[in-house]
């Protein structure tokens, strides 16, 4: 899952980014409203954490412009303004959630997680595909009762594939959702990551879950969902 954090406090940005990355999110950050708007326009994020009082363009303005342009990314407003009017303005302006500073880190992570789940129409913390289960809370993966250890990036890739299971995802799309600005993926980074992930979850299993659709991309699907390769 890839998240954009728009916050003008450098220190808060640094520590929240660290916390989100530790939770296996790909995180980009912006220090002012204009940069945040530009990033949200150019990248398909799974969730936006948007401060209200931002230099250049405030959070409400960023949100209203994004919504006016048809952007449906889930947005969590993060602000020191706790008046009911502010919360109402934020929610009416198109925010999906509202969190007042100072906040508990656990709560922020839980809300971001909920927004990301909602982005893919899933309310459960458990993601299932065939005999593979992903616990999004503990970030643990099991297949046929066997625990699988994944790196942060591998986990992000698997979670994204499962959330979009049954859909063919292009390399660019996958790249956009699992890599943030700190990573500089090479042209075959997604292929390599898929290859590593396949080795960890499909080798020794009863059936493969990750399928290649040539010239189109990759798809996660249980055997019952697989159709013939159009190519």
């Amino acid at each position: 899952m890839r998240v954009l954090l728009v916050e003008d406090s450098v220190r808060l940005t640094r520590h929240l980014t660290a916390a989100l990355r530790n939770q296996n999110y790909a995180v980009d950050s912006a220090e002012d409203g204009e940069e945040g708007l530009w990033r949200a326009r150019t990248t398909a994020y799974d969730a936006l954490i948007l401060d209200v009082m931002l230099p250049k363009l405030d959070g409400f303005a960023v949100l209203s412009r994004l919504r006016a342009e048809g952007c449906s990314t889930h947005v969590l407003m993060l602000t020191a303004r706790d008046a009911v009017a502010d919360r109402v303005a934020g929610l009416r302006g198109g925010a999906d959630d509202y969190l007042v500073k100072p906040f508990a880190l656990e709560e922020l992570l839980a809300r971001v997680d909920a927004l990301c789940r909602r982005a893919y129409g899933c309310k459960s913390k458990l993601l299932r595909i065939g005999d593979l289960t992903v616990d999004t809370e503990t970030r643990s993966v099991e297949r046929a009762g066997r625990s699988i250890v994944l790196s942060a990036r591998e986990y992000r890739l698997l979670e994204y594939l499962i959330r979009r299971q049954g859909q063919v995802l292009s390399r660019a799309e996958i790249e956009e959702h699992i890599y943030d600005d700190t990573a500089s993926p090479m042209s075959n980074a997604v292929d390599s990551a898929i290859c590593v992930l396949r080795r960890k979850i499909d080798v020794g299993a009863a059936y493969p879950l990750i399928h290649t659709r040539r010239r189109h991309g990759y798809m996660a699907a249980a055997p019952s969902e697989i159709r013939a390769d159009p190519a």
Partner: protein, 463 residues
């Protein structure tokens, strides 16, 4: 006695009781005098009647009393009597009534009658009228020689009169006493009624609390005597409301100001606790920076509070304002360089009697603001001049984002043009402190924004 109600009650009761007593006393005295006067008039009328019935025929005296007339005097139970004697005092005629009593012998004339009060033998009070007169038929010569003059004494029992006077006196005392008893009650009632608007005002004021400071008592009709109190109270409420509103704004702004550093502190602590092995290398520096920022806010708030409450001692001395300005600019050199601006000074050597520490704080704050808020590479102009009988110190810098609407808000606590409050160097209290300090040293502060977006802060004082 501190109660207006009691004071009015006592005062009015005593005054009204006095007026009542005096009035009733005067009425009683007047009625009594009228009764006595009527009684005496009746005696005189009788005496005149008797005198007209006495006729002198030559040397023979003829008494032409009718039976009906004499019956009034001759009856045993009669309360009136008369006695007629000649000029030598010899008894000529006496009625049968009051036959055992002797009458006073003092006589006057009909023009100046002599009345005498006395007691009859049986103790009854009586009044006598004595007159001497010349009977009809007397010669002029005899009249002049007094030989034919007669002396007439008419007496009447005045017990009935005295009884009437006593009754009137009793009635007067009873009515007076009753009125004196009732007066304080009536007075209290009237005062209570008159003071109802005051009670209403008190009740209105009692209902005003922190949440209802917008209430105004002059909205309710009141007697004109209470209008000044209403208006004064409303003015006081205006000031209170403004002060409370200001305090609310400051508290809210302060809370808001502290939310971000607290959020930073909490987040970095939670991240460090949750992922201790991936502890960020900047954590300790961040904690220190947050602590310094919060310390700055608290220190400046306390300083502002001390200045505004007059706890900031002012020590007047001769200060070279040009030297002071140069020292402050030198101290800011690193910031000037970091912000890429230039400072141009036009300062004449000027000495003024003021507090050097407070003036330095003002100059530092204004210069820091100018240097930190001007666009990179722009010019900050400082000018010190003594002209037209006053000294003025001014700093100007370009402020492209500032509007004229912002000017009244400059100096408001925690107000910053950048609503995001991204700066951890500025707390939004600098200009509030400048305002308070200029007032403390009795200087004035003016802020202007030119059409070319140059903001100028001028502080000054008459020389």
């Amino acid at each position: 006695m501190n109660s207006i109600r009691q004071r009015l009650s006592y005062g009015l009761s005593i005054a009204l009781a006095g007026i009542l007593a005096f009035g009733l006393g005067a009425i009683y005295a007047r009625v009594r005098a009228e009764l006595y006067s009527s009684f005496d008039e009746a005696l005189l009328t009788r005496a005149r009647a008797i005198s007209t019935l006495i006729v002198l025929n030559g040397s023979q005296l003829s008494l032409q009393f009718s039976d009906k007339f004499l019956r009034e005097f001759d009856d045993d139970v009669s309360t009136s009597a008369f006695e007629l004697s000649d000029a030598n005092g010899r008894l000529v005629q006496r009625s049968e009534g009051l036959s055992h009593d002797s009458f006073p012998r003092n006589v006057g004339t009909f023009d100046t009658p002599v009345f005498t009060s006395f007691r009859l033998q049986d103790g009854r009070r009586a009044r006598a009228l004595g007159v001497s007169f010349v009977p009809r038929g007397s010669t002029k010569q005899a009249t002049r020689s007094n030989t034919q003059w007669m002396r007439l004494v008419v007496v009447s029992d005045k017990e009935a009169l005295e009884a009437s006077v006593t009754e009137i006196l009793t009635a007067t005392l009873l009515v007076g006493g009753l009125l004196i008893v009732i007066t304080p009650l009536v007075v209290l009632k009237v005062i209570d009624r008159s003071m109802r608007p005051l009670s209403r005002l008190t009740s209105q004021l009692e209902q005003i609390d922190v949440a209802s400071l917008c209430t105004r008592v002059s909205a309710h009709p009141m007697p004109i005597e209470l209008k000044p109190i209403q208006e004064t109270t409303d003015r006081l409420l205006d000031r209170l409301e403004q002060a409370f509103e200001r305090e609310r704004r400051v508290s809210s702004a302060l809370a808001h100001e502290l939310r971000t550093p607290i959020a930073e502190l909490r987040s970095l602590a939670e991240v460090a606790i949750r992922w201790p092995k991936r502890r960020d290398a900047h954590t300790d520096q961040d904690v220190l920076a947050i602590a310094i920022h919060m310390e700055q806010i608290v220190t400046r708030m306390l300083a502002l509070s001390r200045i505004e409450s007059g706890q900031c001692p002012v020590s007047i001395e001769q200060v070279r304002i040009d030297t002071l300005t140069q020292q402050v600019v030198r101290a800011l050199e690193a910031r000037i360089k970091a912000n890429g601006c230039r400072v141009e000074m036009e300062i004449a050597p000027t000495t003024i009697a003021t507090d050097s520490v407070l003036l330095r704080a003002i100059v530092s704050n204004l210069l820091e603001n100018a240097v930190d808020h001007c666009p990179k590479g722009s010019l900050v102009r400082v000018r010190v001049a003594a002209e037209q009988g006053r000294i003025s110190w001014r700093v100007s810098n370009s402020a492209p984002d500032l509007t004229k609407d912002d000017l009244p808000r400059l100096g408001e606590r925690f107000w910053r043009k950048d609503a995001a409050r991204s700066s951890s160097v500025h707390t939004g209290l600098g200009l509030s402190i400048v305002k308070a300090l200029t007032a403390a040293i009795d200087w004035d502060l003016a802020i202007a924004l030119d059409d070319d977006q140059t903001v100028t802060f001028v502080i000054g004082q008459a020389l």
